[in-house]
Symmetry: C2
Subunit: 453 residues, 2 copies
């Protein structure tokens, strides 16, 4: 594994803080990689943290804050409140703009105004621009610290420019070429620069078929672009073609991770990132779904109550309720998952809505037929009643087909209506398919009642 | 979105192939980014593809193959079989070693031997080394094309070395510093090189607390390292500390994506990447789970049959079977998802197995109590029988608690036994909890039978 934060260095850092030894603290602290500095920072108690803020310059703490994951941002908020306002504003101004905006978006308006007022105007302006972009758009994850050059530069002058900007740019490995109106016209990698002679012109080297994303697109599109093209960053343009930012691969990894967690949470009907909360909080976050579905489940109970007379006559029918609802619920969950994934991978645009649904119905009919035949045989032999076996088998076939249809149709409809299809949870599909399965089962059974008694 | 592969360029490429116009083909083809070249390549018909192989040098096709996703590797296999063996061997030898190995691992031994024999010995040797690493280890995704330097070099000599290696290295943005025994002792970024004076020594600039991964570790560890530290690549070492390869961020994105898909597929009890197959194939891949769980479900039916007499006496009891099994199944799925995620994020090592299970039981008790009270009231009023309401409420409480326990315990046990906890699917948990819920419900109901008639 990665080299651990050395226990001794950690001890030494804490000791230095307790002894008010700024020099030793700084020496030991900066031995660590920024990520490890952040891990140490997050473990400090309030008194230690105050000293650290005293010992580090705002730009040094900004680097630590830049690497801290969004999951830990609520902790940063409380740290900011403990700081001197001017120091906090400076830290935010030295952070990459996209990260600063993430934090500012979680603060109250009052506090944001205070910080914006206290920081250098240029930084505040950059931040203001980014704060306007809606959540989950490219604009909300892009940063404005990039390197742009013009076509009429030489490799040598581009290198000089790059050296000057290297300290602030989030990536220096791509240089974006713009025209006089700041419109993106080409791209060059640092690799191209260093292997070529200093006198070569930028426009001879640059690629003019540059892949870019629009600032208002969904962030998942830029994630897919980086994933497909194996880029380290992608330029972001306005509708006019003007270059206004970049999205880097590290931000994209977080986006892909969040999307995967959202899908997973959706399928399970629970926010899986709840993991750090108490049982009270866990129960509180899970109960809304449980109670909502309980009432949907009451619908199934009400439906069964219509057949209470039939059940008291043929109690054997009650043996197979959970078998039919359970199996069709499983089939519905499978369909749902496939449909949600399919909707999430739009490259497969050849398959239309209709063909997706048709294929799920076909799949349902095939798996329903196999499952139905198996259960017909088993029940027929077990209960020595092949009419009962047939009723169960045919009900199973119909219930599975309907569950497959529901499992694919519901996320597709949600997608068409503009909702995230991943919200159609597995528990919702199984509870819904309980209802349809019982309806199918008892309707069929009631037709053959005289053979079942 | 990304600039589309220009329709006209595409037409022009196809036309050039049909007119046997190699020059025009090459001119138009290389206007595209490698990823787009790959997309065009994959759409060609066999005759067009043969011409393309004729028009491109092996190292040019190797670049196209390097960017093609693993999902499309089975198509590459058939393309290779269509090529001249020597040409195919050359393409493989020019690819990044990790990608070539991915493809070779899917070929039969005979064919692998032929290719290895026909390619340059150095490439074959590199490939042989990588082929030894087990699937899903760091070794299986690392590449051997990296740049290493020694401590006693100057920035200038390092730059010269870098220029020479830039064409072949997978990344040139990190330079790894090794000692005389090729042991990793430091790291330097290209950013460090270009902003410093040419006479500065490497050992003055390099960071000596370099984060590396062991070649035999699980690939997910290197993915987490890159994700946490925002690296573009991580060096891979032998147990001896010897530097043998690197893993780059683009490979890590694919690993994270695969892991997320595995978890999602596990939860749904279906391989969600089945999306391109026919209904027959879909049904074939889904039926094993459905039929296995059908037999587990038969256990529940058998259990209910023990209470058949009680049901014919009090048919009302059958109304609430699906309500109790459904709700506890939903709760169990929620617990399962949280447990699987928790096991997948080992940073949270503070929470032991025991505390995780205890917390799920507590969560189950709390949500079970709330859900139980709700349903007790609803059923009590609806059926004008608060004893029945109480039986349902208490059963619900107990069934939810047991389902939460099962939902967390089963993945934890699987993890302890060395299996992937994500395989414990949602459908399995719901089917299992059907059984326990029915058992709880009828056991409790049978104690209060005289009040229920």
């Amino acid at each position: 594994m990665s080299q651990p934060t050395d226990e001794e260095i950690y001890e030494s850092i804490i000791e230095a803080l307790h002894h008010n030894d700024q020099d030793r603290f700084r020496e030991e602290f900066f031995k660590n990689h920024t990520y490890d500095q952040a891990q140490i920072y997050l473990t400090l108690d309030p008194a230690e943290r105050v000293k650290l803020h005293d010992y580090l310059a705002p730009q040094e703490l900004a680097e630590v804050y830049d690497i801290i994951d969004e999951d830990d941002h609520d902790r940063i908020l409380t740290f900011l409140y403990d700081m001197d306002d001017k120091y906090a504003a400076d830290v935010l101004s030295y952070m990459y703009t996209d990260n600063a905006v993430d934090i500012l978006n979680e603060l109250n308006v009052e506090k944001v105004r205070t910080y914006m007022h206290l920081m250098p105007k240029a930084a505040a302006d950059d931040i203001k621009v980014l704060m306007h972009y809606a959540d989950e758009t490219v604009g909300s994850i892009m940063t404005t610290e990039f390197v742009s050059i013009t076509t009429n530069q030489t490799v040598k002058s581009a290198m000089t420019m790059l050296r000057a900007k290297a300290a602030n740019a989030e990536t220096i490995y791509y240089l974006y070429v713009v025209d006089d109106d700041n419109r993106l016209v080409g791209v060059l990698s640092l690799r191209d620069l260093i292997v070529n002679d200093g006198n070569v012109m930028v426009n001879e080297l640059m690629s003019d078929r540059v892949v870019s994303v629009d600032v208002n697109e969904d962030q998942i599109n830029v994630a897919r672009t980086i994933q497909d093209y194996d880029f380290l960053a992608v330029p972001v343009v306005e509708e006019t073609g003007e270059l206004i930012g970049i999205v880097t691969v590290d931000d994209v990894i977080d986006v892909l991770n969040d999307e995967a967690m959202q899908d997973y949470s959706g399928l399970a009907g629970v926010d899986v990132d709840e993991q750090y909360s108490s049982p009270w909080n866990s129960a509180k976050s899970r109960l809304p779904w449980l109670i909502t579905l309980l009432f949907l489940g009451m619908g199934t109970s009400t439906l069964i109550s219509q057949y209470e007379g039939m059940i008291s006559e043929v109690a054997t029918l009650s043996l197979f309720i959970t078998l039919i609802t359970g199996t069709s619920g499983n089939a519905g969950t499978q369909s749902l998952a496939v449909a949600v994934r399919k909707l999430a991978t739009p490259e497969d645009e050849a398959s239309t809505m209709g063909s997706m649904i048709l294929r799920e119905i076909m799949t349902g009919l095939i798996s329903g037929t196999v499952t139905g035949l198996v259960i017909m045989t088993v029940v027929g032999i077990w209960q020595s009643n092949f009419v009962l076996g047939g009723v169960i088998g045919v009900s199973m076939l119909a219930a599975i087909t309907v569950a497959n249809l529901a499992g694919s149709l519901i996320p597709i409809l949600m997608d068409k209506l503009g909702f995230d299809p991943a919200v159609a949870s597995g528990p919702f599909i199984t509870t819904l398919s309980d209802l349809t399965s019982v309806l199918i089962y008892f309707s069929i059974a009631s037709q053959f009642l005289q053979f079942l008694v």
